[in-house]
């Protein structure tokens, strides 16, 4: 379980961000309020990814498998960061 949490944490954050943003758009609407909510959520999730990055870097791997796990997880965090970042754009650039 721990391995999967480490490998997927960034992507899970992305999924949370995406689906919450989608549900806000689909079920609440696109007025100013929801827009700001999406932007806030984006900042929160980006901060979350950054925090996870710091946490992962501070972990001391014991063997090859752990080292591999850590570097792959950092990679998924990088992709998740970009994806969440982009996901915030619609709230910013679609006035």
């Amino acid at each position: 379980m721990k391995t999967w949490l480490i490998l997927l944490c960034g992507l899970v954050l992305w999924a949370v961000h995406f689906f919450v943003a989608y549900f806000i758009g689909e079920f609440i609407g696109e007025t100013q309020g929801p827009r700001i909510a999406v932007l806030g959520l984006t900042l929160l999730c980006l901060a979350g990814v950054a925090a996870l990055g710091v946490l992962l870097r501070s972990m001391r791997p014991e063997d090859d498998h752990d080292r591999w796990r850590r570097s792959a997880a950092l990679g998924t965090l990088a992709i998740s960061f970009v994806a969440i970042f982009w996901q915030g754009f619609p709230a910013l650039f679609v006035p």
Partner: protein
């Protein structure tokens, strides 16, 4: 070195065991894994047979759907031709898409998985061989009958996406659409069965030492693939159920006149439909990542990046479904989320492409048949990927959506991302199961024709699309100037077909299937376990894996494995058996006894297919008879599971002892049940989404749902069911088998009572399923609950019967674990299913 299960990895040093093997060991192994004769081929469950049948059938559907494509290309070669009349054309294009997606692409990769995965992982077979056999037979029988509907003019004609209301009873009164809904629904079951098999197989049957970071990349790809199927396919299962309910029972889920919404179908369909593209692409990318290192004679560059790219694809692809719906009038910010996710998902694809290029650059690439196809695949796939980024831009998509530009885009992606890799895989792995490899000389021709063919066929379609040619048109008027690009496309299509034909000829000349030996062997000099010398049982012994390319890093490995120096060199129990290992670090956990030949999967598949087909043509008596026979076959199958082995600990090699009987969260049965529950849970969640969607989109038709307070008994009964069924495991621990089975039956009864009460509450509140989509969806939740409760009843009485026959071991037992888990889930689903629709009040 850390350990996951308490197993000491230092024990691996004992292997390989030197010295001669005991007398009769190999004979015992061969006896357990004997080859089928005559009719036994229908009852064989060994993956080496099922895998070959499976790949062959999928390829047959590729050819059939390809022939349909050629017919369409002939019709469109010039304006206003009359080769295919309008209604025939509409059936043909629907079938081309449907067959390629559902009967070729997904089954083909599952087929390759069934054939290759055990060998690649060093397992004797997948953990549920009968499930693979069932999945195959269901698919083959169902698929062929489905295809045959074309010959009687009853093939579906609503497009592979089947949008209502065109596919509703009002506009498609014939049974054509029912063929699609029931046929595809049935084939999905087969795909999901295969996916469960693959997940548990990859997680639990890897050779000892094959930790996640040493897993062949194809196994990674299939793991992500199978998890995606588990999450995505329930959406299409639910949507086909809903549409069939609308057609057969007049439940107006997509009917705007009674509060339904056709856009709900689009959400559900594309929630499956877009991940589907990555579901198809990922395994093929996994094949590419296996083949390219061998072709380039070096290890894969960026292994971990490919893994993370696949994981990222698995997630991101679930955020892109509505990019098929940019023109439905979705509000701009929401389209933006999907546009952003569609951009994001191209990043992992880019990582994989550059990993392949880096691998070529590191090694010394050979231009043999698999090499050529992988190189061609890179170019074609990148072209399709670039147009994919273009259509992710909402304003550009507004123009090219539903035009031939999209037809060009998707064929570049699917041919570059799936068909070319699959052909590379055919050339690469055929020597593993055939006495001879395919001809390298002909391969050059096959590749040239196919590569030129795809570009000549599909490049002009970009232009036709830009010129305004919509998709799914059976003809076009000369005045638009679409004649020239269409004529060129037709020529290209026939070149592609000529390439495939040449391949088929080569296949007929050189392919001599040899399950288990007598094969051409490792002709390309690959480094992974599937190239170990093998027989029907796979490798003679299961090696310890210390690297990603064990055959390259330990030249003596093949010889030592063949000699029987590693794990399980014989059969301890005399049955077929395999080793179950831990999910992360693949430490040996227990010995699994595999089932041998049995007719029940074939019979179950045959009668399930009979059930669905008879339902389609409204032969209800025959349908019910088939259902009963299918059920009997399934029960017989169920009865044979969970055999107790009268051994506690067995020596699997080098004096390493593992148990032969394991229950609870460690067992593979538990894992499969969890996976199955995720599938059911996804179907259920999608139905909840449908509820919320209609509540938000059709408020004018929404009535106040029944109150929550009167539903408290329903909620309470369901919670009690959860507690009681989980309690059954606790009771069993006290050696009281009878009481445990009684608890399970009781829990089922409580949940059933809750459902009956729930139903009467909705009835009492005046809701009728034909009245409104809201009511229809509420009753859909109850119908889903009823369906799983029927299964729960069967399970709990099965436990009771097993108790009576003394088959239930105490203090723990896998059958009881599985049933308890399932029935507890039923209670939980009943709870949520009762609460949720009541929360969606009139605002």
């Amino acid at each position: 070195m850390t350990s996951e299960t308490g197993f000491d990895p230092a024990l691996y040093a004992r292997l390989p065991v030197e010295g001669p093997r005991p007398e009769g060991e190999e004979e015992k192994l061969c006896r357990a894994w004997s080859a089928p004769k005559g009719w036994q081929h229908l009852t064989e469950v060994n993956n080496q047979y099922i895998g070959i049948y499976y790949v062959g059938t999928a390829f047959l559907f590729f050819i059939l759907a390809g022939i349909l494509a050629l017919l369409m290309r002939v019709q469109l070669a010039a304006p206003l031709l009359d080769v295919l009349p309008q209604d025939t054309y509409n059936q043909v294009f629907t079938m081309h898409g449907t067959v390629m997606m559902f009967l070729f692409a997904v089954p083909a990769v599952e087929a390759v998985a069934v054939l290759l995965l055990p060998q690649m992982l060093g397992a004797r077979d997948l953990p549920f061989p009968r499930l693979s056999a069932y999945a195959f037979w269901a698919y083959a029988i169902g698929g062929l009958c489905f295809f045959a509907s074309l010959f009687v003019g009853l093939a579906p004609d609503g497009g592979w996406f089947m949008y209502p209301p065109l596919t509703s009873k009002a506009f498609s009164p014939g049974i054509n659409v029912d063929f699609w809904l029931l046929g595809i629904g049935f084939i999905e079951i087969s795909a999901i069965a295969g996916a469960i098999e693959i997940i548990v197989g990859v997680m639990r049957t890897r050779a000892p030492g094959m930790s996640l970071d040493k897993m062949p990349i194809f196994a990674w790809a299939l793991l992500v693939f199978a998890v995606m199927i588990i999450i995505a396919f329930p959406a299409v299962i639910l949507s086909t159920l809903l549409l069939e309910a609308e057609r057969a029972l007049n439940w107006p889920i997509f009917d705007v006149g009674r509060g339904g919404d056709p856009v709900l179908w689009q959400h559900l369909f594309w929630f499956f439909g877009h991940p589907e593209v990555y579901i198809i692409f990922l395994p093929a990318a996994g094949m590419m990542s296996m083949i390219i290192p061998t072709v380039a004679r070096t290890e894969l560059v960026g292994y971990r990046m490919i893994v993370l790219a696949m994981l990222a694809t698995g997630f991101l692809s679930f955020g892109v479904w509505a990019h098929h719906m940019f023109t439905t009038g979705m509000p701009p910010m929401t389209t933006g989320f999907f546009s952003a996710a569609s951009m994001a998902v191209s990043v992992p694809a880019g990582i994989q492409v550059f990993s392949w290029i880096a691998t070529y650059a590191t090694g010394k690439p050979r231009f043999n048949a698999p090499g050529l196809f992988t190189m061609g695949a890179v170019i074609v796939f990148v072209t399709g990927g670039l147009t994919g980024v273009m259509v992710a831009l909402v304003p550009f998509d507004w123009q090219v959506h539903d035009t031939y530009f999209i037809v060009a885009h998707l064929h570049y992606v699917l041919i570059g991302g799936m068909v070319f890799p699959l052909f590379a895989a055919f050339y690469y792995w055929i020597p593993m199961s055939s006495a001879w490899p395919l001809s390298e000389r002909l391969a050059k021709w096959v590749f040239t024709l196919m590569f030129a063919g795809i570009n000549i066929a599909f490049m002009p379609m970009h232009f036709a699309g830009l010129m305004g040619m919509p998709r799914r048109v059976y003809t076009y008027l000369p005045e638009h100037g679409w004649a020239l690009p269409n004529l060129i496309s037709t020529i290209g299509a026939f070149m592609f077909a000529a390439g495939v034909l040449l391949f088929v000829i080569d296949l007929a000349r050189n392919f001599r299937p040899r399950p288990g030996g007598g094969s051409a062997g490792n002709v390309y000099g690959a480094g992974t376990l599937e190239w170990l010398p093998s027989d029907l049982y796979g490798s003679r012994s299961i090696p310890v894996v210390a690297s990603r390319e064990p055959l390259w890093d330990d030249p003596a490995l093949a010889q030592n494995a063949e000699r029987g120096g590693y794990f399980l060199p014989g059969s301890v129990t005399g049955y077929r058996e395999s080793l179950v290992t831990s999910p992360i670090r693949a430490e040996p956990q227990y010995l699994q006894v595999l089932p041998g030949r049995t007719a029940s999967p074939f019979a179950a598949a045959l009668f399930t297919a009979g059930f669905f087909l008879a339902l389609t043509v409204q032969a209800y008596t025959f349908s019910i008879a088939s259902a009963i026979l299918a059920l009997m076959a399934l029960l017989r199958w169920l009865w044979e599971t969970d055999r107790h082995v009268p051994l506690d600990n067995v020596d699997i090699g080098g004096g390493i002892m593992v148990p032969a009987n394991v229950t609870g969260p460690m067992s593979h049965g538990w894992w499969a049940t969890i996976t199955l529950l995720i599938v059911i849970g996804m179907i259920f969640s999608m139905a909840l989404f449908g509820n919320a969607f209609l509540w938000s989109n059709q408020p004018a038709f929404w009535s106040q749902p029944p109150a929550i307070l009167p539903a408290f008994p329903v909620l309470g009964l369901n919670l009690a069911a959860v507690a009681l069924s989980l309690g059954a495991r606790w009771i069993l621990r006290r050696q009281r088998q009878g009481w445990a089975s009684a608890a399970l039956i009781g829990a089922t009864a409580l949940a059933t009572g809750a459902l009956v009460l729930e139903h009467s509450l909705w009835r009492a509140a005046g809701f009728d399923p034909e009245m409104s989509a809201q009511a229809a969806l509420a009753y859909t939740l109850q119908a889903l609950q009823m369906f799983i409760l029927v299964v729960a009843v069967l399970m709990s009485f099965n436990i009771w019967a097993r108790v009576l026959r003394g088959l239930v071991t105490a203090p723990t037992n896998t059958s009881v674990d599985v049933a308890a888990l399932f029935i507890a889930y039923c209670g939980a689903q009943g709870f949520v299913g009762s609460l949720f629709p009541r929360l969606l009040g009139v605002s």
